[in-house]
């Protein structure tokens, strides 16, 4: 299923959209076309750079597509500059220039708008705004009912709030600037919604846990609560991995994921989201001498306790060695 590269794209525009956010406009090279997509989709970008020693490295990160789904003449993504980068964020901010080429997967949607929904409430924190921009664009085009509640640290730190409010109006776009002490009245919001309303949350993990927890407390059905969180693969101590079928062993570095370490051996492994959500990279554990640190939000508690499965895109290992069925 895995297809690493579907499109070669050229960076045609870079805009500093907020203090730490850059927006990149990407066009297919050689007059090729990019596919239409549905709001909430992301694509995996492959970046080819060099590490501190000058050796070639490959970074792969998923980014939400924020351009209009009704016009695939180009795609736009936004990249937050994180303080400690595993490579991709700083590469995009510091290395990539207009005219550079990147590789892009086909769009994948793990955070779709529910087509049968009567009303849609979007709650965004910081860079979590990006999937909602395309979702609202698609809904507006077909006359859907929605409102956005968007929180950010300061006016210069939050991206796109002005454009969104100009476009959809103050009734549909509510802003909450933390630096000005503005807070969303979450209980009131969740209690006064018509039946058939869907809630979508995107932002940092504690924020997602807060809003989805509040919605459950308020009696919202699980089917109407949606969230997306791309986990960057967490860092940790290096560890040894052996691949049984391929008969190789290697160390997984401090800032590397198991998946990245496998790819560095030129071995193919399945993946889609690289964020612990889709389940595509589920891998069987043959043996281990230690403990898996499950960082995904895909495996069930039973799966985790069995010690037989690991999501290699985000999970790590603490111990002597981990043997995988690859």
């Amino acid at each position: 299923m895995t297809k690493r590269v579907d499109h070669q794209v050229e960076v045609v525009e870079i805009v500093q959209a907020a203090d730490t956010v850059k927006r990149f406009r990407l066009k297919a090279v050689d007059g090729a076309t990019l596919p239409y997509f549905s709001g909430g989709s992301h694509a995996v970008i492959t970046m080819r750079g060099t590490d501190a020693t000058g050796a070639p490295v490959i970074y792969r990160n998923p980014y939400s597509l924020m351009s209009s789904p009704t016009d695939p003449a180009y795609y736009e993504i936004s990249v937050l500059r994180v303080p400690v980068s595993r490579g991709g964020s700083h590469f995009m901010h510091d290395q990539v220039k207009v005219g550079d080429r990147l590789s892009l997967s086909n769009p994948i949607n793990l955070f779709p708008v529910v087509a049968t929904g009567r009303k849609h409430i979007f709650i965004a924190g910081g860079i979590g705004i990006t999937p909602f921009i395309a979702m609202m664009d698609g809904l507006a085009a077909r006359g859907g009912t929605f409102e956005l509640h968007y929180g950010f640290r300061s006016r210069s730190h939050g991206a796109y709030w002005q454009e969104l409010q100009d476009r959809y109006g103050e009734n549909r776009v509510k802003l909450y600037c933390e630096g000005e002490g503005q807070m969303i009245d979450v209980d009131r919001l969740l209690e006064h919604q018509p039946l058939g309303t869907n809630l979508y949350v995107c932002g940092p993990a504690p924020m997602i846990a807060f809003f989805t927890g509040k919605a459950r407390q308020a009696g919202w059905p699980e089917e109407n609560i949606h969230f997306e969180q791309f986990l960057a693969p967490p860092s940790g101590k290096p560890f040894l991995v052996k691949l049984r079928k391929s008969n190789v062993e290697f160390m997984v570095g401090q800032y590397q994921s198991i998946l990245e370490a496998i790819e560095a051996q030129n071995i193919e492994a399945n993946f889609l989201c690289r964020g612990g959500a889709c389940g595509q990279c589920e891998t069987a554990v043959c043996e281990m001498d230690g403990e898996i640190e499950h960082n995904d939000h895909y495996l069930t508690d039973d799966d985790r306790q069995s010690g037989k499965k690991i999501m290699i895109c985000v999970s790590r290992f603490k111990g002597r060695e981990l043997v995988l069925d690859l």
Binding site: M1, K3, D6, P35, Y36, F37, S38, G40, S41, P69, T70, N106, P107, I108, N109, P112, V114, A115, T116, R142, E223, L272, C278, G279, Q280
Partner: protein
């Protein structure tokens, strides 16, 4: 497309026949001498020239006959084509997929030109020349799904994806193996697979659903299913059971060759880009027993498959009444010699 479309019938006088070339390209679905369920899903990539996989949407010598039969079914029963209101974006996605695939695969029969949202579609086989606005259903004589599936072989189900499940929320179904869109519409993946024996215990559907939820645009997949039909009848629907059910009592040792058909479904799955829905085309291929045994390997192998088929599956597929007669007839084409792996003719 170098063959001529045949004017043939799938009802009444049943003039349907495969040409010798049509027989050679038949998607015989048994790679071994026995059959059991499996999650037999593989990438739907281009196959050999002339095969049913050469193009993503196959158009063959039966195209015109099948489209005329579909029009007759719809005239008698318009509920064979239904779409819930939230599926309009997916309908346009499907129209685009079918027009583009057919025009690219068979440029001497179909052509599509686009100027922004002003599209021009020509279908020479059915003598259609249509200019319309993509996205504006009022510019077509039917809604987009019905319009294009009246010009595309096979049944089409469009599945909406939500709540980690797939919902059958639109479809054009006139060539089905005894199931009903009108009954299944609005059901989810687990509900419409409810009655299949053995497969649930094997966890087949859970695994298949998980796989489908991650299906990527641009990377379609395919699988096969099969059953048998008496007479080359496309419309074996529950609604018309009274027309085809009794046919099953008419099989005799003398008429097996001409009356009994292997019915193979090529099922493909495409992620649709704008709607994030999945379209599930189910394409039916028919071959009579006398046509099948012109390929010696297939005659030998099908005898063994049918003889060894588990009773639950034979019952589910509706073969029980005539299976012994067909097995006996096929036995004269099975000399016991080995069959090579794979399904190609030797």
């Amino acid at each position: 497309m170098n063959s001529v479309f045949k004017k043939e019938t799938f009802r009444d006088d049943f003039t349907f026949k495969n040409s010798p070339a049509g027989i050679r390209r038949f998607p015989f679905p048994f790679a071994e001498d026995n059959y059991m369920y499996a999650v037999n899903i593989e990438p739907h990539v281009a196959g050999k020239k002339g095969s049913v996989f050469e193009h993503p949407i196959d158009v063959d010598e039966h195209y015109v006959g099948e489209m005329l039969d579909r029009a007759k079914v719809l005239a008698e029963d318009p509920l064979r084509c239904q779409a819930l209101p939230h599926m309009m974006t997916a309908q346009w996605d499907l129209l685009e997929l079918l027009m583009e695939s057919q025009a690219q695969g068979y440029p001497d029969v179909f052509s599509l030109t686009k100027d922004g949202d002003k599209w021009h579609w020509i279908n020479k086989a059915l003598d259609i020349d249509e200019k319309f606005t993509f996205g504006d259903a009022s510019t077509l004589p039917y809604e987009p799904m019905e319009y294009i599936t009246r010009q595309s072989q096979g049944d089409f189900c469009i599945l909406d994806q939500r709540d980690n499940n797939l919902w059958m929320d639109a479809g054009m179904v006139t060539t089905q193996a005894d199931w009903s869109l009108d009954f299944d519409i609005g059901m989810n993946f687990m509900e419409w697979h409810g009655p299949v024996p053995l497969a649930h215990q094997m966890g087949v559907f859970e695994r298949a659903l998980k796989f489908m939820l991650n299906l990527q645009h641009g990377h379609p997949v395919r699988r096969f299913n099969w059953t048998m039909t008496i007479n080359p009848r496309l419309d074996t629907s529950p609604e018309n059971y009274h027309k085809w059910g009794p046919d099953r009592t008419t099989v005799t040792p003398e008429n097996v060759g001409e009356k009994v058909y292997l019915r193979v479904e090529l099922q493909t799955f495409f992620r649709l880009p704008r709607s994030n829905a999945i379209v599930f085309p189910i394409r039916c291929y028919l071959i009579s027993m006398q046509e099948l045994v012109t390929v010696p390997k297939w005659g030998r192998r099908f005898h063994r498959v049918l003889k060894g088929l588990r009773n639950e599956l034979a019952d589910y597929k509706g073969l029980t009444r005539y299976r012994p007669t067909v097995v006996e007839w096929l036995s004269q084409y099975d000399d016991g010699s080995p069959t090579s792996p794979g399904w190609d003719p030797e």
